[in-house]
Amino acid sequence: MANTGWDEFEIGAMLRSFDGKIDDIAGTLQEDRAYSPNNSFVASVADWRIEKPVFNKDYCIDCQFCWIYCPDISIIARDKKMIGIDMDHCKGCGICVEVCPTNPKSLLMFPEQAEEEAELANWPAKDEEK
Amino acid sequence: MLEIRWHSRAGQGAVTGAKGLADVISTTGKHVQAFAFYGSAKRGAAMTAYNRVADEVIMNHEKYMKPDYVFVIDPALAITTDVTINHKDTTKYIITTHLSTEELVKAQPKLEGKEVYTVDCITIAVETIGRPIPNTPMLGAFMKISGMYDIEFFKENMKRVLAKLPQKIVDANMIAIQRAYDEVK
């Protein structure tokens, strides 16, 4: 948000989440919500990433661990099914990979510049010792 | 300006007595003040409470006072403490004791030559209210000595002040006030 002067913002240590009145916000998908410019939804942290998570749906069991643990609400789930990662808000911390319980993992970290298709094609095999 | 100092022990009801007196006097259009000296006192510690009464708004908040009346509602305090401090020639003393006025003055020479009245508020309270809370009987004695109000008027008003208490206790207080009024010498 713009660095406005002392007389140009609402009083109080207070920020609005949405522009104007909202209705049935729980039933409205994030991308359809009228977030205010103050809301961190409009601030991308994509450029913070050195590594990025890649999601392999072939191994995912939809346990929702990654959805719960992601500190930036960047796991996109619909009807309790993991469908992907919000790459505008993922800062590349790798927690989703840490908590993923499948063998092999359904989420792995790769360098930011890695090609997703190539990495999916070379996904590690099941670790038999585990 | 009429000024009164109460000598009491914490828990004997001097503050309640001072506030009750102020409440009754206030209904007659006079201005009143009731306060006390507190420390972090335990029940039983000696303490003092105060009344001021005037025709104008009372602005004086100093604690220093040369009282017109001194009420002593604990029998030992007249002996063990100096209840005559900051006195005037005209200060009147109403003291709770089982002693006669003469015996009391003999026991406490500082009261020699002073206008001293005695009444046994403790015994009256025990016999009427059932507990040694000598504050309301003291006010009955004060009504007699000062002639401030008709005793019936005073009792009616005290009923309102005490209205939070059970009816039995209120009734007992009325008897105590009347007895002290009749018995003070």
């Binding site: 609005r16 | 009731a34 602005m59 908040h61 100093e62 220093y64």
Partner: protein, 407 residues
């Protein structure tokens, strides 16, 4: 849920604490979160009793400390309720961190501060140490001199604080014991008349407005913090004072009782004036009148509003006076008294240059007697005659031992 109304007599004999508790009841405060402390305890105890006896539709929240009390008040105020509490002394000191939170978050809480000394040594009696501790906290501070003021100023505080142009919390100060436990006649308002003065609470950016979600208590660093503090200061300096004047005027229309940000007594032709706060103001008024019968043109000036400091009104009050004694009832801690400094600053920028001397008095509830004040006025008169301050600038009144004077 309906609540009962209470029958009050036109004049009730109340101490300052009960007067404040009755005002909280009549304002129908939604939430009181409190950790009781002497001598303010009966205020929150009173609210709790009224609430449990169905005289209030509200919540009394018991907490584990004064810090938690103000924290809960902040939560309740941010949620959108009319909120109040009370404290004193050590409790106030523990509350300080959250005082800055509530003013910075612009939450219109009313805090009754029953002024009491700060330990060590431990002392439950009245002085202004805790009141002075609130000076820089960004709150509005009202000062009561007697139980009637303690009652009235609570209504005024809610009305000022809750105004959407103000939205800053208020403290209503009264002197521990000397006001809080001193019963005097208080002219009351009936419940409807009292409530109609403050009116229904109008929330602003409340968290319970689910159609307009807000985040309260955000973090700012050097990029935003200064602007927020500047805004708060600007509003205290420019918006609050006219609002207080308007509310005082409305209150006078409502009740006939008049308050001013700077209270002046016998100042029309005064040569010498005593400046003080709290119950001392009234005692000093009485002495000033007596001094006039002895040929000394004595007056009294006092603050009704300590913050925002009424700088220009102070200059106006002292514009013709020749000598001023400024009384501070708080240990100065190695400096001139705080009010001495503020009065000096105001008069330094004024056209009139009176002689100003400072006095420290009344710590830990030490009595300020009329005899002290007579001496004080005589000393001021001597200063006027000499054309200079004949004593040191800072003196102590009423302390045992050799005379203390500095500067």
């Amino acid at each position: 849920m309906a609540f009962d109304k209470m029958e009050l007599r036109d004049v009730e004999v109340w101490d300052g604490n009960h007067a404040a508790a009755q005002a909280l009841r009549q304002c129908q405060v939604d939430v009181v979160a409190a950790y009781p402390i002497t001598p303010s305890t009966p205020i929150v105890e009173g609210y709790a009793k009224f609430q449990s006896d169905n005289f209030i539709e509200g919540e009394y929240v018991m907490v584990e400390s004064e810090h938690a009390a103000m924290s809960a008040c902040i939560g309740a105020a941010a949620a959108g309720g009319r909120v109040a509490t009370a404290t004193s002394s050590q409790g106030f000191a523990l509350m300080v961190e959250t005082l800055y939170q509530s003013s910075g978050m612009r939450l219109p809480i009313v805090l009754n501060v029953v002024n009491r000394a700060l330990a060590a040594p431990l002392n439950v009696n009245g002085d202004h140490s805790d009141m002075y501790l609130g000076r820089d906290s960004g709150w509005i501070q009202f000062d009561a001199y007697c139980p009637q003021d303690a009652y009235d100023l609570n209504f005024i505080a809610f009305k000022v604080s809750e105004d959407h142009d103000v939205r800053l919390p208020s403290m209503v100060h009264q002197d521990g014991f000397m006001t809080s436990h001193t019963a005097q006649g208080v002219t009351t308002m009936d419940d409807d008349k009292a409530y109609s003065f403050v009116g229904e609470y109008k929330p602003m950016n409340d968290m319970l407005d689910f159609e307009h979600p807000v985040t309260h208590g955000v973090q700012t660093e050097e990029d935003w913090h200064f602007e927020h503090k500047a805004r708060q200061h600007n509003d205290l300096m420019t918006k609050v004072s006219p609002k207080i004047d308007a509310v005082f005027e409305a209150f006078e229309k409502h009740t006939g009782r008049k308050y001013s940000q700077v209270e002046t007594y016998d100042m029309e032709d005064a040569d010498v004036a005593v400046f003080c706060l709290g119950t001392s103001v009234e005692t000093t008024r009485e002495v000033a009148r007596e001094m006039r019968t002895k040929g000394i043109k004595a007056g009294v000036v006092a603050l009704r509003v300590i913050r925002p400091f009424p700088f220009a009104k102070i200059q106006e009050a002292f514009k013709n006076v020749k000598a001023i004694a400024v009384l501070d009832r708080s240990a100065p801690g190695g400096a001139p008294g705080a009010m001495f400094n503020e009065i000096c600053a105001a008069m330094y920028a004024a056209e009139n240059s009176p002689l100003i001397s400072g006095y420290i008095y009344g710590l830990g509830g030490r009595d300020l007697t009329k005899a002290h004040l007579v001496d004080l006025y005589n000393e001021l008169e001597a200063n006027v005659k000499a054309g200079k301050v004949t004593t040191q600038l800072q003196q102590f009144i009423g302390v045992r031992g050799p005379k203390l004077a500095y500067l």
